[in-house]
Symmetry: C2
Amino acid sequence: MTAVAGTDPRNFIRDLTRSPSGRLLQNALENRWPTTPDRLSTIVRYALLPAGKMLRPIMTLESAAAVGGDPAPVLPAALAMEYLHVATLVHDDIIDADEVRRGRPAVPTAFGLPDAIVTGDHLIFCAFASIVECGAGGVPADRVATAVGALAAAGNDMCRGQILESELVGDPDTGVERYLEMVRLKTGALFRAVCHVGAALGGADEEGAAQLAGYGEQLGIAFQIRDDLLSYTTVAQSIGKSTTSDLSNGRPTLPLLLAHQAASPQVRARLTAALRGHRADPATVAEVQRILADTAALDRTRDCLVGHAGQARDRLAGLPPSTSAALLDAVARWAAAHRW
Amino acid sequence: MTAVAGTDPRNFIRDLTRSPSGRLLQNALENRWPTTPDRLSTIVRYALLPAGKMLRPIMTLESAAAVGGDPAPVLPAALAMEYLHVATLVHDDIIDADEVRRGRPAVPTAFGLPDAIVTGDHLIFCAFASIVECGAGGVPADRVATAVGALAAAGNDMCRGQILESELVGDPDTGVERYLEMVRLKTGALFRAVCHVGAALGGADEEGAAQLAGYGEQLGIAFQIRDDLLSYTTVAQSIGKSTTSDLSNGRPTLPLLLAHQAASPQVRARLTAALRGHRADPATVAEVQRILADTAALDRTRDCLVGHAGQARDRLAGLPPSTSAALLDAVARWAAAHRW
């Protein structure tokens, strides 16, 4: 659909968002959620708009096109991915007591906890209603049923990932594997559904849809590792800030876990104490940064990222050449190749 | 499926729950949610079991059978109705800050607010996954898609009903119509889906499914009015207690709204003041009870209940005679005929 592969990697996501698919989706979102006196719709509009990067819905359309399907009737399902994504943001902001989202008061802060719970629920139901809507647009019912199943499975995985994440807080001893399982559930599952739903509605057979689902899952894991890494590597100033945030909320990230794995028992004990104690004083932050450097944890995190992005790209091998297949490949290359 | 019509009305629901359908569903719930070390499943099991009356899932099976369908492959969809119902209870207990449910600590109290949010979300996703499961059991995909759409629409209505209910608190001036709209959305919608899903999966045509959906919606409204009424009429002792509760949380119920509608402007102002002020001192409670008696509000509430139950029964007219059709009719008769 959209040829953006090969453009400047610094502007890759911006160009994708401004592409014809991106604009189509933003307009659809605006049209479906107009300004209204209805309180629930007002909160949903506040949560959804102005639209974010729309990466997930764009990838649903491209997945449908990549398997030879017509993306037009898949549009409601693409919006469903944004609904589910934003539903999790709204509920996560309650769970994490985050008061700011996208530079504005988060939904629970702006509208109160009770209505934020209902808004998240509403967005989940809207996601399923939107998938079903594709049937009215001519998509065969068996594909719709497959897509609904993929969305529900992703939602359930995301719930499991959320619970697992809260179990991991303050506990670096659980190790890298359990962390990656959490990331697969919490972030990988939605990207898996994003591509699975697009492929299934676009008419892929079971094997083809599974390949694209696998691509999405690996890509989602890569994105989360990339986020973990960026918070340590973007600019010198933010290093301390992010390390502070990770330590003070006790949340282990992949660099911390890889450092923990590679460190001596003595150093490991100090890392554990920092995480368990939610300590983020300057001395602790400096020490953790030294441990990350000594254990080459950032390099090893980068290797892990490149590995998952590569696994994502491998799943695209069976697709016939097309601009959509090239775009999906470019997303995975972009995830891994961003400069630090 | 289950012949319970005509049994003693005092034991009607108990007999239904103990019927073969009821036991089948309870066993299925136990088997699908075994004791496990997994935290999320543990909370779900706590929320679902011991099973409640299982009225909604029983009615899904009976709706499938009433349109001539085989209820066996519809079993997962019947469980979906319990999942969605319990999901709303878990989230409602957060919204209303209720600490007790079924005589035990409510889920948010027992497991904390963050995990309660995730558990409610999980149950919603499980509901959709269960509907899709019927496809694997041989139900045609177009029926599955219709059922998913019916469930999603009900969920969205329930969200709108929840928001509307919170808008009605302390405001008896909005009147009976707006209250009944709230009840239709908040309680009617799930019973509508309960019957619509069963009928659709059982193979009803569009018209037949719509009739059963209408039956369910009217029945759900009748149930809520019945609840409103019972809190004023069961035993003398509980009258004061329920009136106290209605007044102290400022929640208008149908008897209060009908009294408000029928009262003089002066009396109306006193009712409004009691609701707005969340006042439940003995003098106010006694005054409200006197106003209810003077305006014959309980009799008029009963008329309204009988009307909705009758509308529910009317929708069954097109069904061929069967024990399932008789059972659905008996549920509506039971709702209206219970002695006060």
